[in-house]
């Protein structure tokens, strides 16, 4: 349950609230004056729909709230609502996201700026409610913008930013905001919630323009194009994804200006990287044990830092390469797997390997898999990864083999 706290520490034109990641998302959706939302139950993302339902029941939000009969319909309903000009929200977790897979593939080429929350969850089978990132990652090649957030505050801010970015005519692509199941969806922290006036200043109305499906604009959408035009249409998607980079920079700059807060670097968080010899990388709430582990190692004189990527699509290749080139070794901790991939690594490790390929300076890179199915990532896991990175730095090269941490062998 959302609890409003004393406004003592609030930023100007903000109020403070003690809320979970899912509740933070619902606060942002209310401020964004959402028009149509579809729900279907699956843990852990469904807490956001529970929060929205309460908002609607209490009259804080006026939106068409539809409980669908499955995720496929859930995503199709909002896709169509968006084409007639409605601001829409949807979401899922794990195999629920997979059930909607067909709809996830059609949304980007239709240029539907849907915003979704993925409460990251291990895929069946076997059953597990805990976090893995493979669910959201399956759409990484399809034209979705993907971002991983770490705190309830970041969830709230990113939801507002996501509408601004997705609905920018230069982009018009869907965005999935990933939140680690349980660790973020269900954990409450104190958040700065901006006033509606601030949000109205930051977030313009959704204008579908000449793509609006309406009797006054009788267009035919998504005809049968075949080999005559498909490659050109794919190219348009590619251009939109490339344009998104500048739009993201612009949106965050404007967010900071309007809200008086927000990250300088939209793309990734850097923690103690300034003098770091070893840079560890991890997405989402894994940053917490990593940060504590890094502080412990710093106390022992080990110069370890963290980069926590936010945006995964578009991938911040140049910025990340620049930030990583100064390290003596890099350790990527994936909370996902990619069976049979190069070096049997996780997805993030191989993306970074690919990004570094043309870099002038390529520090040794170690790949780790840890915390699958929501298993706790321990300080020992983090320390072990850092120590192995130190050994690679000393040797000047890395064994490309992937290391599983905290797994019973």
């Amino acid at each position: 349950m959302a609890v409003e706290t004393k406004p003592a520490g609030a930023v100007a034109d903000h109020k403070e609230m003690l809320i979970s990641g899912s509740e933070a998302c619902a606060e942002a959706l209310t401020l964004a004056d959402l028009d149509v939302v579809t729900a279907y139950p699956i843990r852990p993302y469904d807490t956001v729909m529970q929060a929205i339902a309460k908002k609607i029941a209490n009259g804080h939000l006026e939106a068409e709230y539809i409980v669908a009969e499955g995720e496929h319909s859930q995503f199709e309903i909002v896709k169509h609502a968006s084409t007639v000009g409605a601001r829409v929200f949807c979401g899922s977790s794990g195999v629920g996201w997979m059930y909607a897979m067909e709809c996830l593939t059609v949304t980007p080429p239709l240029r539907v700026p849907m915003v979704c929350m993925v409460g990251n969850r291990a895929l069946d089978d076997p059953g597990a409610f805990g976090v893995e990132h493979n669910d959201a990652l399956v759409v990484r090649d399809l034209g979705w913008l993907l971002i991983w957030v770490d705190t309830a505050q970041e969830m709230l801010d990113t939801t507002l930013l996501a509408y601004r970015i997705a609905e920018d005519r230069r982009v018009f692509l869907p965005i999935a905001i990933s939140a680690d199941g349980a660790f973020l969806t269900h954990s409450q922290t104190i958040c700065q919630v901006p006033s509606r006036a601030l949000v109205d200043k930051f977030l313009p109305r959704y204008d579908r323009g000449d793509l609006l499906l309406h009797p006054d604009n009788p267009i035919t959408v998504a005809p049968q194009a075949n080999e005559d035009w498909v490659i050109e249409i794919r190219r348009q998607n590619d251009e939109a994804m490339k344009r998104a980079t500048a739009v993201i920079d612009e949106a965050y700059a404007d967010f900071r200006k309007v809200m008086g807060r927000g990250p300088e670097n939209p793309w990734f968080e850097e923690y103690m990287t300034e003098d770091a010899e070893i840079i560890l990388i991890g997405m989402g709430t894994i940053s917490l044990p990593m940060k504590v582990g890094i502080r412990n190692m710093r106390a022992q004189g080990k110069k370890v830092g963290l980069i926590r990527p936010r945006w995964f699509r578009p991938f911040p290749t140049e910025r990340l390469v620049k930030a990583l080139s100064k390290a003596s070794a890099i350790g990527v901790i994936d909370r996902d797997y990619s069976f049979g991939s190069p070096f049997n690594s996780g997805v993030v490790a191989n993306e970074i390997r690919a990004a570094m390929y043309n870099a002038d300076k390529r520090p040794p890179l170690l790949s780790f898999i840890c915390g699958l199915g929501g298993r706790e990532v321990t300080l020992e896991d983090v320390a072990k990864a850092a120590d192995m990175c130190y050994a690679a730095a000393k040797a000047g090269k890395s064994d490309p083999k992937t290391h599983w941490l905290g797994v019973r062998e």
Partner: protein
């Protein structure tokens, strides 16, 4: 925020009083490339003619997507959008919900806009049945789902669907030297099932374009009555059924006259039989099913035994069903074992 002028009203579309009173304007015109004798193309044309210009049409994957909307040559005069094979229900619901939200909140001019989503039998009676069912329970959103039933996945090479008649030859059920019949399932009673299972859906009807004015008037009634509605159209298909394209209308008539495809509507729970079907209910004899079946190559492998079985199943529908041709189940008869 809320615009008090918004009433969720529908367009009032009075029935056409005879073929000479039908409006002249077309909203589905040249540009499509359907087969000669395609009844489904005619259904599209009549459907949107009946609906008029303030209409949005959503089309799920199937013949009427692939053959109709080649890039740059759309036949649709009204706004049209593709939806996924199993998504006609979701497309209707989402479009209606989007319009409603925007009009209610004063973000779009408030006016009744028809929302029609169509699907083939594969998209409607098979894959999309769940989504259609869900949409028919959302009584606050005005839309029509029209199922054009050509009794196979005709666009992908004539594969059997849950709506393909018993025994028919399709590319997934070819008669062979050892097994004569591969497809031995009886066709789903889609309209009856949807009418029976969705008690707040105000209108479910069956149509056949052989009876064009009746068909258009059912579309107009479905759009006027409000809430989610459903129409099932039987569309003879020269390619899938294997007959001379000039016989499309005649086969539609025969499907009705043999009692295989009854024409009816369920309006606010009241069942009304139409035309030749009404005559059958009132005692006029049905034509034997062989007159219909043997005009089609897809039944050319039928033996007398197959024809007899088919006839017995149709007889059962008329002699035993609780509501003939609409709702199956029959009460136990005294003395029966």
């Amino acid at each position: 925020m809320a615009d008090t002028a918004f009433t969720n009203a529908t367009q009032i579309l009075e029935p056409f009083k005879g073929v000479k009173k039908v409006t002249i304007e077309e909203y589905f015109t040249s540009g499509h490339r359907t087969c000669q004798g395609c009844e489904s193309a005619l259904v599209m044309k009549l459907m949107v003619k009946a609906a008029g210009p303030r209409t949005i049409v959503l089309g799920s994957t199937g013949c009427m997507y692939v053959a109709n909307t080649t890039y740059y040559t759309t036949p649709w005069v009204v706004p049209w959008m593709h939806t996924q094979l199993g998504s006609s229900g979701s497309a209707a619901l989402g479009t209606a919900a989007g319009l409603k939200a925007l009009m209610k909140k004063g973000k779009m001019k408030s006016e009744p806009i028809n929302v029609i989503a169509f699907c083939g039998d594969g998209g409607g009676a098979d894959m999309g049945l769940g989504a259609i069912s869900a949409t028919l329970t959302h009584k606050e959103y005005n839309s029509l789902i029209l199922l054009y039933d050509n009794e196979s996945y005709a666009n992908t090479d004539i594969q059997l669907s849950g709506s393909t008649p018993y025994g028919a030859n399709t590319t997934f059920s070819p008669p062979g030297s050892v097994k004569r019949l591969i497809h031995t399932r009886w066709k789903k009673n889609t309209a009856g099932m949807l009418a029976a299972g969705h008690t707040e859906c105000r209108y479910v009807a069956t149509v056949c374009a052989s009876y064009a004015v009746e068909m258009m008037n059912k579309v107009r009634k479905a759009l006027t009555i409000g809430g989610p509605t459903f129409i099932h159209s039987l569309d003879p298909c020269p390619k899938g059924w294997d007959y001379d394209p000039m016989l499309s209308h005649e086969l539609g008539e025969l499907a009705v006259e043999t009692g295989i495809f009854p024409l009816y509507e369920v309006e606010n729970g009241v069942v009304r039989h139409y035309g030749k079907t009404k005559a059958i209910v009132e005692g006029r004899p049905r034509k034997p099913v062989r007159e219909y079946l043997l005009k089609q190559g897809r039944f050319a492998h039928f033996t007398e035994e197959d024809l007899g079985y088919f006839q017995s199943k149709v007889d059962e529908m008329w002699d035993k069903w609780e509501i003939p041709g609409v709702i199956p189940f029959w009460k136990e008869r005294p003395g029966a074992k």
